[in-house]
Symmetry: C2
Subunit: 275 residues, 2 copies
């Protein structure tokens, strides 16, 4: 999916919401545990209840891997289900991969050919040849970690050179040599507040994947105020706040309500760029 296509979907749905499918068998409603593949049934019900309110789903691989091969099957079935029933949805595999060239090429094959997701989160530490193998797939996206939402983001991402440039700014700057805003996005945490202003000076046009709304405490209003551009430029993720809104038998409806609340807030924010 290219950038224009993505923006079209955002306008149609009046939403730039991504729902994180961080599916944890310890947190899903108990009545699902008697199913053959409880994780998949949970995802299916969440997806059926929310697909018109969001533009993207983002399964985090950690939650699937923790169940071994069985978890991978759940992951694969979930991707297939979205592709078959809701082909316009943008699918992000949140995997934070990155390795030496020949190994990154294997990861790229896995996610872009076998799984056929639209985008993959990638960690920048190993540099150019760990990232470029993911760029050999037209209309597939690398979402590079830049400034993450967690407390530990302070440990290395703000490491500063003698010109006052932070590491995350170096990542933003350097990575533009490898791909443009049609193949690369960046992770910037909602908890980073006004840093969005500085980031937009370096990458005015790129889409940002923004985690950290909800459970992690980030504010949608602030993110939009400092981070939105004329093609929206934001995919805002919520995981736990939506999928675990309620763990009764009504979980899917509660997830829908939580997603709708965010979608309404996004609709309001989008008015600022629609004339």
């Amino acid at each position: 999916m290219n950038k224009e296509h993505l923006f079209e979907h955002i306008k149609e749905k009046q939403s730039f919401l991504c729902i994180g499918l961080d599916t944890d068998l310890k947190k899903i409603p108990e009545h699902l545990l008697k199913e053959d593949d409880p994780g998949f049934i949970f995802n299916k019900e969440i997806i059926d209840a929310t697909h018109d309110l969001c533009i993207a789903y983002k399964p985090n691989l950690a939650f699937y891997e923790s169940l071994g091969a069985k978890g991978w099957l759940t992951f694969e079935k979930t991707i297939k289900y979205i592709r078959t029933h809701y082909p316009d949805i943008f699918i992000i595999a949140d995997a934070k991969r990155g390795d030496i060239g020949n190994t990154s090429a294997m990861y790229a094959k896995s996610f872009f050919e076998e799984m056929n997701v639209d985008a993959l989160t990638v960690a920048p530490y190993m540099g150019e040849d760990s990232i470029t193998p993911f760029l050999n797939y037209p209309e597939k996206w690398v979402i590079l970690l830049a400034l993450t939402s967690n407390k530990g983001s302070k440990d290395f991402q703000f490491f500063t050179n003698e010109e006052g440039q932070h590491l995350f700014e170096k990542v933003l700057q350097k990575s533009q040599e490898w791909a443009d805003d049609q193949q690369m996005m960046y992770v910037v945490g909602a908890t980073q507040g006004r840093m969005f202003e500085d980031i937009r000076k370096i990458i005015p046009n790129h889409f940002l994947l923004v985690p950290g709304i909800g459970a992690q405490g980030g504010s949608l209003e602030e993110v939009c105020k400092y981070g939105m551009n004329r093609q929206c430029g934001l995919i805002v993720n919520s995981s736990r706040g939506i999928i675990y809104a309620d763990n009764s038998e009504n979980f899917a409806l509660s997830a829908r309500n939580a997603a709708e609340k965010l979608q309404k807030a996004m609709e309001k924010e989008l008015k600022n760029i629609m004339e």
Copy 2:
């Protein structure tokens, strides 16, 4: 496995060799492809032929993930096979994971509880709370990326602050606040040559996992000269140079010969610290 235990194995086997199980169905001998699980059979034969010459195996997850759930089964079977037949072998899952706290905790559960590997490679970019969840398992190890073997290591790992400290040095320094040399090791590429001297000034006692010998061009002699400490302190990995030494029906014997050549060279190097 603790550090002393690891050093005991190194002395017994006169080897600090790790064999990288980067098992790629496109590269393994053709006659194996008719098997039900060719990747597992390949690994099993390599392991049976080399286990007395090495102290560790390091499957890289990318090669297994590229086959989806099926590949995960191959990975799981390989770990179980090593655990059952060669219980003294140190198993490193080369996965380069790292995510926000609750997600890293899921990865830790996956690799240290479900898979029961001894060590996991972790990427440092997201900082403390992305790494500490892996440290809740006694005698399990985090192997943190510090200075990698690839060309792209130059892009960010040498980013330098105003005191002249490089990012990888900051990673070495800061991470010592989180764990000592009984729970943490570092990845330092064999291609980094004399940098080992500087690294040993910061972490004299830690074990280093050293990829980049062989296909990537690093030198064992140089690594030992600048990187070895009194408890060896090195686990040197070779993947392609051993497992793909030959792709005829004799592949396992050829792998043994390639591994033996390295083991002999290591035996010679170990003499320098044995009195």
